[in-house]
């Protein structure tokens, strides 16, 4: 699974992207965030405030119950501030 991080999530996690082998019990976005939190204090800090974390799977906005699978591009970022 390809993970992408933007803005302060990128800074707190310490990288812009990575490829991860996600365990088989991770089937939804919410479970993915829980698992990422367990990877280290940088992830736990970045993902602590869940309401501030937006998720896109394959470049579409999704909710916490959206399914995820190997091969997906999953992006985590704060609420957008363009324009």
């Amino acid at each position: 699974m390809k993970l992408l991080y933007f803005a302060w999530l990128r800074q707190k996690i310490g990288k812009a992207e990575e490829s991860l082998e996600v365990p088989s019990h991770v089937k939804e976005v919410g479970q993915l965030l829980d698992w990422l939190e367990s990877l280290g204090p940088n992830y736990a800090t970045a993902l602590k405030e869940r309401r501030a974390v937006k998720v896109a799977v394959n470049q579409d906005y999704v909710g916490l119950d959206h399914p995820v699978k190997a091969g997906d591009e999953v992006a985590l970022f704060p609420p957008v501030t363009g324009g």
Binding site: W8, A56, Q59, P78, T81
Partner: protein, 155 residues
């Protein structure tokens, strides 16, 4: 048409091109967003004005979302042409950030669609602003009022 680019754009040339080749266009509406100095109260109590801003975006998803927003505007209003240009990278006060322009036979469609496009773009397009000032850099926070403006367009 949508464009996501680092470089500046020429407003006059872009607006002229929007109506070129079509005598159906009766009016063009446009919105141009600029980098402004941030008042201390707005930036969370700091004393210095913003000296620059860096816009980060999500290449691929940005273009996809802008195309969807543009398509939605064209579903809701009868437009002869539409254009969204959004810049990324480091920008300074006074620099242009975004151009939204719409052309239609009568002014109502162009004016409404232009307002719709900038309201939706602000809450849908994956851009993030990092402001730099004398106190350091801080990520701009999303405003609830922007969400409310977007929601007001829901049919």
């Amino acid at each position: 048409m949508i464009r996501v680019q680092r470089g500046d754009f020429d407003i006059g040339a872009e607006l002229e091109r929007l109506a070129a080749g079509s005598h159906q266009v009766g009016g063009i509406a446009s919105f141009i967003g600029l980098v402004r100095d941030i008042a201390p109260a707005e930036s969370g109590g700091g004393s210095g004005a913003a000296s620059a801003m860096t816009l980060e975006h999500y290449p691929g998803m940005t273009e996809k979302r802008l195309q969807e927003i543009e398509a939605e505007a064209n579903r809701r209003w009868q437009l002869e042409a539409s254009l969204i240009i959004h810049r990324y990278g480091r920008l300074e006060p006074g620099d242009r950030i975004v151009l939204v322009a719409t052309a239609s036979r009568h002014r109502e469609a162009a004016l409404e669609a232009c307002a719709f496009l900038i309201d939706w773009l602000k809450t849908e397009a994956p851009f993030w602003k990092l402001e730099e000032s004398a106190e350091g850099a801080r990520w701009v926070e999303a405003r609830a009022s922007d969400d409310a403006r977007k929601a007001a367009w829901k049919k």
